[in-house]
Amino acid sequence: MPKVTVYVDIDLEELIPIFLNGRQEDIVALKNALAAKDFKELERLGHSLKGVGGGYGFDFITEIGDKIEKSALISDGSHIQSLIDIMETSLDNLEIIYED
C-alpha cells in the first residue's frame, strides 16, 4: 500500500495525535453502526468526518466522509464498508509533511 501523504499546517502539529486518535474512534463507531445497520448514525458520522478532515489538511477524510454520508442516505451498506476500509488503510500508511 503506497504512502498516503498529507500536508499539514505546522501550527496544528500538537493537535495531530488527538486528531488521529479521534479518527480511530470514528472507525470503530462506523463499524459498529454498519453492523447494526444504523444508517442514521452512519450519516451523522460521515457528515462529521466531512466537516473535520479538510481543516487539518486531511482532505481524503473529508471526501470519504462525504461519500459515507451520501451512501448512508441511500442505505448502501457495501459501499460504506469499502469506504471504511480505505480510511483505515490510509491512516495506517500515513505520511505527514508539516508546512508553514
Binding site: 499546517d9 501550527d11 496544528l12 500538537e14 493537535l15 488527538i18 486528531f19 479521534g22 451523522r44 457528515h47 462529521s48 466531512k50 466537516g51 473535520v52 478532515g53 479538510g54 481543516g55 487539518y56 482532505d59 473529508t62
Partner: protein
C-alpha cells in the same frame, strides 16, 4: 481583547479553531453544545460566536434563536460553521439573524478574515449605538433647558389682565416651541400714569430668555427703576420719558454685551386724560382703532435697541378717547408665512381689527388669532411667538 465563543460538538473542530484564533490574540471560550453555549454567553462578555449547526439535542439554529431572543446576547454576532452547504441552509441561518456563514472544512485564512470583519462591524455598531445614546441624552438636556427658558419667559408675562382705571385689557400669547423672546407688560407708575411696553428680543432659546429677563427687570416699576428718576424735591420723582427709557436701555444693552438686540415700544399713558407719549425701537407700529372704526398708526420710530443711539428715537404722541382701542403686537403675527409662501401681513391684521370693532376687546383678539389660523392652516409649528396685546380706553 475581543472574546470569541466556539461552539461545536467535535473536540477536533474546537481545537482547530482555538489554535487558529489564539494566534491572533483573542480570548477564547468553548462549548460542546447549545446549552453550554447559552450559559457561557450569558455569563461572559462575548464579542463573537462561532456556532456549529449539526449538534445533538439543541442544534445550531435553535441555539441561535435562543441567543437572539435574550437582550443580553441578542447583539452578539454569530457566524455559523457547518458542513451543510446548500443555499437554503445558509439562507435559513442568515434569516435567523446570523451575521455570516462558513462551510466546513474551513479555510483557516477565511475564518480569520471573517472573524476580524464581524468583530470590526460589531465594534463600530456598538460605538454608533453609544454615540447615539449620548446624542439623545444631550438633546434631552437641551430640550430641558429650552423648556426652562420658556417657562422663565412666560413668567414675565402678566397672568391676568391688569386692572387700570379707564382701561380694559385683552391679550393673546401663543409661544413658539423655541421660546421666542416676546414679552409685554403694564405697570402703574403713579395715580395717573401707566407704563405699557412690548418687547421682542432677537433669537430663540436660552440666550433670548436671559436677555428678556434682564430687560424686564430693568423695566419693573419699583426700587432701582429706569421708569422714574428720583428728584431731591417733592414729588421726589419724575417719570422718565419714553425716548429716555429707550435711550437708557440702548446704553445698557449694546450689541457687544449679549450679542442680542431687541425691538420695543414703550408707552406712557395718562389714564385720566387719555394722552399717550411713546417711543418705538424698530417694533411693528402700534395701531389705534378709533371708536369710529378708523385706523390710525403710531408712526414715530427709531432703530433697534443695541445700536448705541446712532439714530435718535423719535418722541411720539397721541390721545385716546373713550371707545378707542390700542393694539400692540410682535412680528410673529405679521411675518407668519403659510405653505404658499405668503405672509399674513399688516393689511390682514388691520382689516380684521377694523372688522372686529363691534366685538368685545377680547373677542377682537380672538378674531385675529382665528384669522391667522385660517391663513396658516396650523399654527402648531410657528417659528416665532405670536403676541397680541390690546387696551380699550373707557
Amino acid at each position: 481583547m475581543e472574546t470569541i465563543l466556539i461552539v461545536d460538538d467535535s473536540k477536533d473542530n474546537r481545537n482547530l479553531l482555538k489554535i487558529i484564533l489564539k494566534k491572533h490574540g483573542y480570548v477564547l471560550f468553548e462549548a460542546a453544545n447549545g446549552e453550554e453555549a447559552l450559559e457561557i454567553a450569558l455569563q461572559q462578555n462575548i464579542d463573537l460566536i462561532l456556532l456549529d449547526i449539526v449538534m445533538p439535542v439543541k442544534d445550531g439554529y435553535e441555539t441561535c434563536e435562543a441567543l437572539k431572543s435574550q437582550d443580553v446576547t441578542a447583539d452578539i454576532p454569530i457566524i455559523f460553521l457547518s458542513a451543510k452547504g446548500d443555499a437554503a441552509d445558509k439562507i435559513k441561518g442568515l434569516k435567523l439573524g446570523a451575521a455570516d456563514y462558513i462551510t466546513k472544512p474551513f479555510n483557516k485564512a477565511e475564518v480569520v478574515a471573517r472573524v476580524k470583519t464581524h468583530l470590526k462591524i460589531h465594534g463600530l455598531s456598538r460605538s454608533l449605538a453609544k454615540a447615539n445614546l449620548e446624542l439623545l441624552d444631550k438633546q434631552a438636556r437641551i430640550e430641558e433647558d429650552l423648556f426652562a427658558a420658556a417657562q422663565i419667559q412666560y413668567s414675565l408675562i402678566p397672568r391676568s389682565n391688569p386692572e387700570i382705571t379707564h382701561c380694559t385689557f385683552a391679550s393673546r400669547f401663543i409661544p413658539s416651541d423655541l421660546s421666542g423672546g416676546d414679552i409685554y407688560n403694564v405697570h402703574n407708575l403713579d395715580e395717573q400714569h401707566t407704563a405699557i411696553y412690548i418687547i421682542d428680543v432677537s433669537g430663540h432659546g436660552v440666550p433670548a430668555a436671559m436677555v428678556t429677563v434682564a430687560v424686564a427687570q430693568s423695566l419693573q416699576p419699583h426700587g432701582q427703576t429706569i421708569l422714574k428718576e428720583p428728584l431731591p424735591d417733592p414729588p421726589y420723582y419724575k417719570l422718565t420719558s419714553p425716548v429716555e427709557v429707550l435711550n437708557t436701555l440702548d446704553k445698557q444693552y449694546p450689541i457687544e454685551r449679549f450679542d442680542k438686540y431687541f425691538t420695543m415700544v414703550y408707552l406712557l399713558l395718562n389714564h385720566q386724560t387719555g394722552k399717550v407719549a411713546y417711543a418705538n425701537a424698530a417694533h411693528p407700529m402700534p395701531c389705534i382703532i378709533r371708536s369710529s372704526g378708523e385706523l390710525e398708526l403710531l408712526e414715530a420710530g427709531g432703530p433697534i435697541i443695541s445700536m448705541g443711539n446712532m439714530v435718535p428715537f423719535e418722541p411720539g404722541e397721541c390721545t385716546l378717547y373713550p371707545g378707542d382701542r390700542l393694539y400692540l403686537y410682535t412680528d410673529g403675527i405679521v411675518e407668519f408665512e403659510n405653505t404658499n409662501n405668503e405672509f399674513f401681513d399688516e393689511d390682514r391684521l388691520y382689516n380684521k381689527l377694523i372688522e372686529s370693532r363691534n366685538l368685545s376687546l377680547d373677542e377682537s383678539c380672538e378674531a385675529v388669532i382665528k384669522c391667522l389660523k385660517t391663513f396658516a392652516g396650523s399654527i402648531d409649528n410657528a417659528q416665532d411667538d405670536i403676541t397680541l396685546f390690546a387696551l380699550e380706553y373707557k
